[in-house]
Structures are given as structure tokens and as C-alpha cells.
Symmetry: C2
Subunit: 486 residues, 2 copies
């Protein structure tokens, strides 16, 4: 017990203490603008910092090198624990917000799901929205390192193939500096992108506050807005274009952005199987939905149909979740297709959720390969990604991931139906939570919020968001007896 | 062309000529009872027999040993071609039945799906129902040989593991006699089961005609009834019990029945991983749904809730499709769970449809194995079925099958939604067709029929039934360029 849990608790305490610094941002804003949230954020900071430091110090003497097994526990507890601390100021400030709902909101922020239980966002103290959006932005940073450095190390669901090609000198060095180096390059891209996005939003007509808030939920593909009406509030084609461009950039593997920036060349994009498929898919889907909306006379002009098809399709497919109209009122084929795309449009190493394009490409090539293997049982044609053969072990991992993904969607959908949701709301909510998308259809469309969920359903959705964000296995492995043996 | 297609056409012609004999059964009945369908069945017989014999004779000089590649073409054309001939008397007799609908009905019969576009079944000439039910019964025979002898030979979707353990002396002999021997043992079981089922139905209170008709759609798990109200027409617990027992027997691998019969022992069932899981699953599902129905006050007494839960759950899970009440009116969790079970409850080598329990067991064990492989990357613990390790090739095949299955369900559902169905009807119809189940939910519940489908939708559903029955790959491989090369 002491030997297995305490070292993890020590690192966790350090992470919590570090995380407490984040509280200072909304606290400072609230203090300067004299908002009634000062007390809530100050308490949140003190409690979080105190508990983090205490845990770190008390477990100091158990410190040791972490094992892969510790990794699962650490990643799971960090991603489920930090939202618990983030919940403190929310519960303190809102009289009528249950712990269940507040935890959902904070998990939603940190996993960049962007599903909200709150309404009346426009009238809240800005510091509350700053908190939600800041957590989303930080969640985006967490995801980048998770996807290209930590999950591959843990061997989760074929993610070995996601591994970043770290720049030259670091190639065969020790673990920690390598992760650090990878994180540095990705964060540089993330920061540059954030600055560019904020300036673009401002130039397109947002206030500086809105520009900052929405940058935090655009580059992280979170999809939170500080307005109940989401992007319909702005009703500006220019602002929507900025969002579309940056959502698409953030849905591409950040390692590719880094390589392109370092080499001052677009070639890395052309060589990336994910980016190629992603752009083709977006082009096809937006075209199809534009035509479909015109054919069903949802819009009368091409430019109008195109504007709404483009913004909402890109938003949903990239697992962002912004909306500039209530697309759940469109004939159902369109929003269902959009949600279907959110399963695999985003790249591994992006801030998006879902199965990830790389897994989808591997699966697609494997399925085609199996078809031809039926005709030529002895032919050897391994799945190739960027020219090199993908090992059977990785393919097995990807296929097992798909199984877990499918079983999770079905189980969560059935539990939501069992507890009273209608099937369309249940299915799309299940998919939306696991994909870290945000909005669903039915009761939980883009203009609704998740306040109507029951307590059990809310916890289930919080679990589903974490399950999706940590790519199933990281969490599921904790439920195996083998994990806790010895 | 001549060398590749004509030999297949020759065998196909032979099959068609042989199939024409089936027309003589309803023809004889119609002749004896003086029904107005005599002309239709006589014409059907003559045309079918004539075309079959002509095709066989004309291609005689191209005859040669068939290759595996021919197998795909032959199996696909037999299963899509015979329903076309079966359509003839239907179109001739019914003035208002389109070719589209008639073909759907006949594909539904031969694939033992049991979905109907007809209403007013009770008032039709009995010979029409005899034709539908006879084709279902024959379809059941076709499936048995397909599953345990032909598909394993073609290497479809991991089905190598389905291969029947043929009785001793034939073990290493040539192909054709081995298939013949396997077919003989399975057909003996099928015939004995049919006789037992018919007698039981009669003893339970059916007329002889109803007993024969419903035996044909019970042992084949087709689910056609000669009454619009299905089993609600009889409203007899005794008749329902007979149906439940024989549906469950027919959902078990017929090779196991054969082994049990030959060895006069129940041990083969205990050693069969599919039978064990199937019975546990049925027990669990019926218990859960009984309690669920009582909790939702659909029924007031336990015995009533149990009666309806048992009959309809077993009927849907075994992909039969009989109903003794409109279960689509139950709270949706129950019918959705039933349809979900229909995906994998039936055994490989049974007359049921869907993914098959053996694939599900392999997948489940593989997923568990992957979870423990994450913790112990170097441990070797292969998936075992009946004590022997399953080869990676088979697991790859099963996983590819799952992919194709999932993609097919999603594609067909989306196409049905695109062409105007509501999502629940579309999803459950897609699953129902691919699983060869029959009834769906929404517009196409157990008391509805499929006459409301548009032409395109009807053809799509006919395709889906064939796709499911031939386990995806047999048909999909025909759409690969590689198949037609050289
Ligand atoms: K999101
Ligand atoms: K059926």
C-alpha cells in the first residue's frame, strides 16, 4: 500500500499544488474588477494549494522512480482529481449548484468537452467564465502531452504509433527530459496559435475579453462559450471564419505543426496521412451538407447554407461544439453525420477527442487488407503508415481500442435509456461525452444545457468524458483485478 | 470471361434447376385445394426449371474444378439469384405487388430474416404462406452448410474457427465428400428437430397446417407467421413454450446437437463455450426484463411479465422475430436490449443471424487480454477456445468482421435516415436486416410491416439481409477490383 500508492500520491500532490496557481488568474480579475467571486476563488486557491503541498510533503520519504503501472494511476487521478479541486469556487459561489453538477462542469472544462450545466452565462461574473475557459485552455495543453508522450509510453490502444518524432538530439535520451522536450515544442506551437487566434478574434470584432475567452476554447477544441447563444450571439461571418480556421488547425497533429514551423515548409502536412484525410473529409462533408440543406429548403441561398454548414460541421466534427444556429432542428441526417464525423476526424496529437483519424486510417487499411487476404491467403501486405509497416501489436491495440470504444458507447447509451432518457438524446449524449464533443441532439442540442440530467446520469457523463479523454484503457485497466495484485 | 464465369454459371444453373423442385410443394397444395395460385406456381416452376437446365447445359463444356474465388461468386449469386426466381409466382399472383417488394419478401424468406411487406396474411391462399415458410425452412438448411463448411473454407471473417469437427473417417478426405458428410449430419439433426417441433406444436393446440408452417419458421429462426398478429393470434402459453424451447435449440450450434446425439450425452453442450454463454445470457436478460416490466407497471403479475418477457426476448435475441405482444410499446430500454442481444446471442453453425456468439467470446477474451497486456507487455496469453489457442489470423479476421459489421450498420442506418426514415426506425431496421432478425422498432415494430419502405430503401434492405447472411465478406469481396483482376 505505502509502496504502491504513496509515491503516486506524492507526485499527485505536486501536480495539485502547481494547479492551484491557476486559481490566481480569475482571483486577480475578480479582485481588480471587484466581482463577488473573490472569496470563492481565494478559498479555492488556499485549500488546493494547502492539500497539494501537504500531500507532497507527507509522502516525501516514499519517493521513488515511477513505474508504468504508476502511470495509469497517476494519469487517472490527475484528470479526475484536479476537476474536484476546481469545483470548490463554483460550489462556493453558486448557491444552487450541486457538487454533482459542478464536478461535471469542471471535468467538462478540463477534458475540453465543453458541455455545460449552466445557463445565464452572459450575466455571470466574468471571472466564472474566465475559470471555465482557462481550464479548457489548460486541458488542451494536458491533452497534447498525454497523446504524444504519455499514452504511447503506457501502450494504450495502439497509441504507440502516435509517438511524436522528437527533434534530433533528444532521440535516445532518458525519459523525463524527452517528455519535457516534446512538451516544450508542442507548447510553443500551442502558445503561438493562441496568440494568433486571440488577435484574429479581436480584429474580427470581438472584445478583448471575448477574444481571450474564446481563444481558450477554440485552440483546445473545448467549445465553451461565455454566451448562452454560443456564436449566434456574435452573428458575424468574420468571427466564424476565424473560428473555422483555428478549429481546423487545432484538429491537426501539433507535432506536424512543429515540424512545419521548424522546417519552414508545408511538406509535413502533405506527408501526414491524417491531415490529408481530415481536409478531404471536411471538404466532402461540408459540400454534402450544404447541398442537403438547400435540397431540404432549410436555407434559400447557397452562401447562407454554406455558412451554416461550414461552421457547424467543422465545429462538431473537430469535437469543438460551438454553434451559430440550432442545427438540431435540421433534418436529422445532417447533424447525425456531423456527430458521426466527430468520432474520427481529429488527429492523434491534436486537442480533439474521439477515436482519432490515425486509428481510423489504420483500421480502414486493415479492413481492406483483410478483404484482399481472403483472395490471396498467403500474400503479405502489412498496413503501412508514412511508408513503414505497422506492427501487428499496434493493430491489435487499435482494434481492442475500437471494441472498448464501441462497448463504452453502447453501455453508456443503454444506462442513459435505462434511467429515463429517450434513445436519440441518450445515444448522441453517450457519443458526445466519450468524444469530448459537448453538444448532443434531442434534449441536449446545441441551444440546450445538461442541467436536466439526473444525478446518476451526470456522474455517468463525467465518467464518460474522462474515459474518452484518457482513451479508455488508462481508466479501464484500473478496474482489472490484475492491476491491484501484489 | 468464359473461363471465369461460365463454370460458375454451370453450377448455378444446376442449383436453380434443383431449386425449381421446391415450387412443386405449394403447386401441389394449390392444385389439390383448388386455390387460385396454381397458374402462378406452375409458371414459376417451368420458368425456373427451364432457365436452370438451359444454363447448366449451355455451359457444360466449360466445366472445371471450382477455385476458392469461384466460391464467393457462386455463394453470392445463389443467395441473391434463387429469391429472384422465387419472386415469379408472387408477382404473378398479386396484382399490386411490385417486383421490389416481392424480391424483398423472398430474400427475407431465404435468409430467414422473416421481415414481411405483406399484410392480410390470414386471408391469403395457404399456398402463398406455404411458399414463404418453405423457403424459410430451406434457407435454414442452406445456412447450416454455409456456416460450418463453406465460409470456413473461404476464410471469411475468422470463420475458420467455426469449422465443424466432422466425424472420424472423413477427417482428411477430399473436399466435396467432406462437405456432403457434414451436410448429412446437420440435416439429420435439422429434420429430427423439425419433426419434433411440428408434433409439439400440434399437441400444444395448433392445426396441422399451422404446425407445419410455424415449424418451418421456428427451426430456421425465420419468424414468418401466417397470421398478421403473429403468436398473439394463438394466445396460448403452451404454444409459446414450444416455440421458446425450439428457438433456443435452433440457436445452438447444430454440430453440438449432432455430437450430443451421436454420443448420447449432454457433455458436448457443457464443453461448448457458445451454449454456456447463450443460456446464461438468456437467463440474465429474461430476468432483467421481467423485473423491468414489473417496475414500469407494464404488467401487474409476475407470471404475466415473465411470459411476455420470456417469449419476446428469446424470439428477438435468437433473431427469430415472432411476437406475442407489441413489445415496441414497452419502455424503450427493454426492446433495445433485446435487439442488442440479437447481435451476438446465436451460435455459429446455428440457423441464427448476427455476429455470432463465438466471435463475441473471442472478441471479449481478446479485449480482456489486451487490458492485461498493457500491464505485462511481454506476457503471452493467447485467446483460448475449448482449450486450444486461437491463431492471430483468426482474431484478425474476427476483428475485421466486427469493423465491417459496424460500418455496414452505420452506413445502412445513415442511408435510411438520408432517404427519410426517423433515426430509431432507421437504426433498428439496419440492425434487424443485417442480423436477419425481422422486426425493428419505430415504424417497423412487431405489429407493422415493411410495405411503407420506399423502393430504394427496400432494395437497400434486401442487400443488407444478404450482406448479413453471407457474413459481409462473401459479398464485399466482389466489390474489390482485385477480385475481378486477371
Ligand atoms: K469539445
Ligand atoms: K428472423
Amino acid at each position: 500500500m505505502r509502496n504502491s500508492l504513496f509515491p503516486v500520491l506524492g507526485v499527485l500532490g505536486f501536480a495539485v499544488a502547481l494547479f492551484s496557481v491557476a486559481f490566481l488568474v480569475p482571483l486577480t480579475y475578480a479582485f481588480v474588477t471587484d466581482e463577488p467571486t473573490v472569496h470563492a476563488f481565494a478559498t479555492g486557491f488556499l485549500v488546493t494549494f494547502g492539500i497539494g503541498v501537504t500531500a507532497h510533503v507527507l509522502t516525501r520519504r516514499f519517493r521513488r522512480e515511477l513505474q508504468p503501472r504508476d502511470g495509469f494511476l497517476l494519469v487517472s487521478t490527475v484528470w479526475s482529481g484536479l476537476p474536484a479541486f476546481a469545483t470548490i469556487p463554483m460550489v462556493l459561489f453558486f448557491d444552487d449548484l450541486s457538487v454533482t453538477d459542478a464536478y461535471f462542469e469542471m471535468v467538462s472544462a478540463l477534458t475540453t468537452t465543453g458541455a455545460t450545466v449552466l445557463s445565464g452565462l452572459d450575466d455571470m461574473p466574468a471571472s466564472i467564465n474566465i475559470w471555465r475557459h482557462l481550464l479548457s485552455w489548460m486541458g488542451g495543453m494536458g491533452i497534447l502531452v498525454l497523446a504524444v508522450a504519455i499514452l504511447p509510453l503506457l501502450g494504450v490502444g495502439g497509441s504507440q504509433v502516435f509517438k511524436a518524432e522528437t527533434p534530433g538530439p533528444m532521440k535516445d535520451s532518458k525519459l523525463t527530459p524527452r517528455i519535457t522536450e516534446t512538451a516544450k515544442s508542442l507548447y510553443m506551437v500551442y502558445l503561438m496559435l493562441s496568440v494568433a487566434c486571440a488577435i484574429s478574434y479581436k480584429l474580427a470584432g470581438m472584445t478583448w475579453l471575448d477574444a481571450f475567452l474564446h481563444t481558450g476554447t477554440t485552440v483546445s477544441l473545448s467549445g465553451f462559450s461565455s454566451h448562452d447563444a454560443s456564436y449566434a450571439y456574435f452573428d458575424s461571418a468574420a468571427i466564424e471564419m476565424v473560428a473555422v480556421v483555428f478549429m481546423m488547425i487545432a484538429a491537426v497533429n501539433f507535432s506536424i505543426h512543429f515540424l512545419a514551423w521548424r522546417g519552414k515548409s508545408f511538406r509535413p502536412y502533405a506527408n501526414c496521412p491524417e491531415a490529408k484525410w481530415f481536409f478531404m473529409l471536411m471538404f466532402g462533408a461540408v459540400s454534402l451538407i450544404t447541398v442537403y440543406l438547400l435540397a431540404h429548403q432549410e436555407y434559400t441561398t447557397f452562401s447562407e447554407a454554406f455558412r451554416y454548414a461550414l461552421f457547424n460541421t467543422v465545429s462538431v466534427a473537430t469535437t469543438t461544439g460551438y454553434a451559430n444556429t440550432d442545427y438540431s432542428q435540421w433534418p436529422l441526417f445532417a447533424p447525425l453525420l456531423m456527430i458521426f464525423l466527430s468520432m474520427f476526424a481529429t488527429a492523434a496529437g491534436s486537442t480533439g477527442g474521439g477515436i482519432k483519424m490515425l486509428r481510423a486510417v489504420i483500421l480502414f487499411k486493415h479492413a481492406i487488407g483483410e478483404l484482399s487476404r481472403i483472395l490471396h491467403p498467403r500474400a503479405i501486405n502489412p498496413v503501412r503508415i508514412r511508408g513503414s509497416a505497422v506492427s501487428p501489436q499496434v493493430i491489435f491495440g487499435v482494434l481492442a481500442f475500437m471494441l472498448m470504444y464501441g462497448m463504452s458507447v453502447i453501455t453508456i447509451t443503454m444506462l442513459l435509456i435505462f434511467t429515463g432518457l429517450d434513445p436519440i438524446s441518450a445515444l448522441t449524449t453517450g457519443i458526445s461525452m466519450i468524444n469530448n464533443l459537448g453538444p448532443a441532439l434531442g434534449e441536449f442540442g446545441p441551444v440546450d444545457h445538461y442541467g436536466a440530467l439526473g444525478d446518476f446520469q451526470t456522474w455517468l457523463c463525467s465518467f464518460a468524458m474522462l474515459l474518452g479523454r484518457l482513451e479508455m484503457f488508462t481508466i479501464l485497466v484500473l478496474f482489472t483485478p490484475a492491476f491491484w495484485r501484489k
